[in-house]
Point group: C2
Amino acid sequence: MYTIKDVALRAGLSQATVSRVINNHPYVSDDKKIAVKNAMEELGYVPNSSAQQMRNVKTKKIAVLVSRIANPFFSQLVDAMEKRAATYGFQLILCNTRIDKAKELEFFKLLISKQVDGIIMASVENHWSVIEPYTKYGPIIYCNEYDPDATVTRVRLDQIEGGYIGTKHLLEKGHFKIAYCQGNDSSVSVNRRKGYLKAITEVGIEPVKEWMFRDVFTIEDGRDIFRKIKQLSKPPTAVFSGSDEVAAGIIHEAKKHSWHVPNDLAVVGFDDQPIAELLDPQITTINQFTTDIGYRSMDVMIEIINKTRINDAQDIILPIQLIERQST
Amino acid sequence: MYTIKDVALRAGLSQATVSRVINNHPYVSDDKKIAVKNAMEELGYVPNSSAQQMRNVKTKKIAVLVSRIANPFFSQLVDAMEKRAATYGFQLILCNTRIDKAKELEFFKLLISKQVDGIIMASVENHWSVIEPYTKYGPIIYCNEYDPDATVTRVRLDQIEGGYIGTKHLLEKGHFKIAYCQGNDSSVSVNRRKGYLKAITEVGIEPVKEWMFRDVFTIEDGRDIFRKIKQLSKPPTAVFSGSDEVAAGIIHEAKKHSWHVPNDLAVVGFDDQPIAELLDPQITTINQFTTDIGYRSMDVMIEIINKTRINDAQDIILPIQLIERQST
DNA sequence: ATCATGTATGAAATCGTTTTCATAAATAGA
DNA sequence: TCTATTTATGAAAACGATTTCATACATGAT
């Protein structure tokens, strides 16, 4: 394992000069520059990152918090983030919080101990008041999560609008009994519900408690939802589900019980995942332009790290779009 | 930002004693131990990782190379790896090689510059002879990739068997004209093809060049394959596709062109992804037990890092299983 | 009482870089 | 020609931890 000392020795120069070449500082003559580069090449020398970081060089690492990378929405999002990060020479540290508050907090240690230059929170479990103290250790931004209290940049979609246009679409299709599924009480869910409620109350419909489902995340959860709906004395005729996975579960189970989608039950998904187009019937869904959110969040984070942008309480809102297919 | 010096000052002790408490070394009296812990607590002190790593403390980070995290097989695999890594206090650095040899080599710098304790290669682009020189900088293992030359631990599935049982299944269903799809020439693809060829030649069938498709990865590629098959003067009656995504593309496009699956065209997938169960018809596929490969690889890597296992040319082979559904 | 051993602590060296400071040579301006 | 500035280089300090070395006090055996 070679150090800068070895390179200096081999080039017949001082460590300082080698360091200057590495960080291409001015005032190094061309011949020495070449001598150093040759020595580095010959030894296969790569600077020890820990030593560099001790001198306040950036780690070029960014932690990305997601609840679970196996969720296609997140894996697509992270894929986009990684792609953009790589073009700037940054690495991603993958942090699965698994919807666990304590686990989420643990990851902030990466910032305190200077293992990362910043944190992108693509999922957030804790309230802002508990996250805020960590901001003094480095930049934290929100991605796809919205907390009005958070005094940092929030790259996100208008989830209220998402809930609104999805529900509105069902209303226009003639449905008045619309169920609503959500995961946990994240800002995303809360805002989508606001949109849903806005749409139905606009036309004078009261929300029905039995049609509001919580903690619905997976395909299997979707199947459960269908079974529950089927057992209701007054079942809804449409469901606004929180994701395409849930929608797929509902639709698949409905077919198994010989319900016709959309005639017996209309279903709206969310995310426009590949599966939405493949299922029979194809799923009407809401496109979140995942790749764009990923790119944009990473751009913002890198700008903040490079100090070409300040991290204030600012919303960057990206568009959202209904894609009508066969499930409604 | 507090340092060990601040903690020492506050506790009225030396840095050495504080360090001893952090690394719980023996020979520290209980009262001082408590004093140090209180001081650390009060200041919210977390040791600077770079400084620790300078003294050869482990980084507790492992790089995972995959071709693309958005591929559900990889995101599931990485999810499992992260879960297991977290229980040992390790973080994952996500490296998307995007099937690029140069990009793959870049990631080895993480090892040379001591930013990670080891590398798990869940995809490999370069030949072993170019990877081998990096092994002197730290442990590298293969996961789900098989290179007989590689003199490191390889956690993998018997892909020859996978290709064999999938093809055999089609033969038993009465198909003799079986097409074969693969991605690039990775060890996985090469071995599966061996299994495919073994199965057909066993019953005296000659491989047909027009039925061997390459560079097939995505749902869209699957659709292409169907269109190509449809145009053939002598089309196959069955396809062994490289993944459930490809299978889904083929099946979906076939339905669109009013071909009946499996009567007009039988399709075998690979991976047993969620989609395999949701599609109509459901996809007959081969289960790779992704979670198990992830867990096992991470166990092996951590054992090697902890020096409780040596990293020799050893194969750890996990089982593989055919799941018969409706597409065959 | 004396010596060996085990326990407890701190001063200072160390890890591999970057940066400051000092100094010397080269160039430019008068 | 003389001074001021720019260019070029190296010695040594600094970053924040861990570890070695030295030292001192207890304890126990003789």
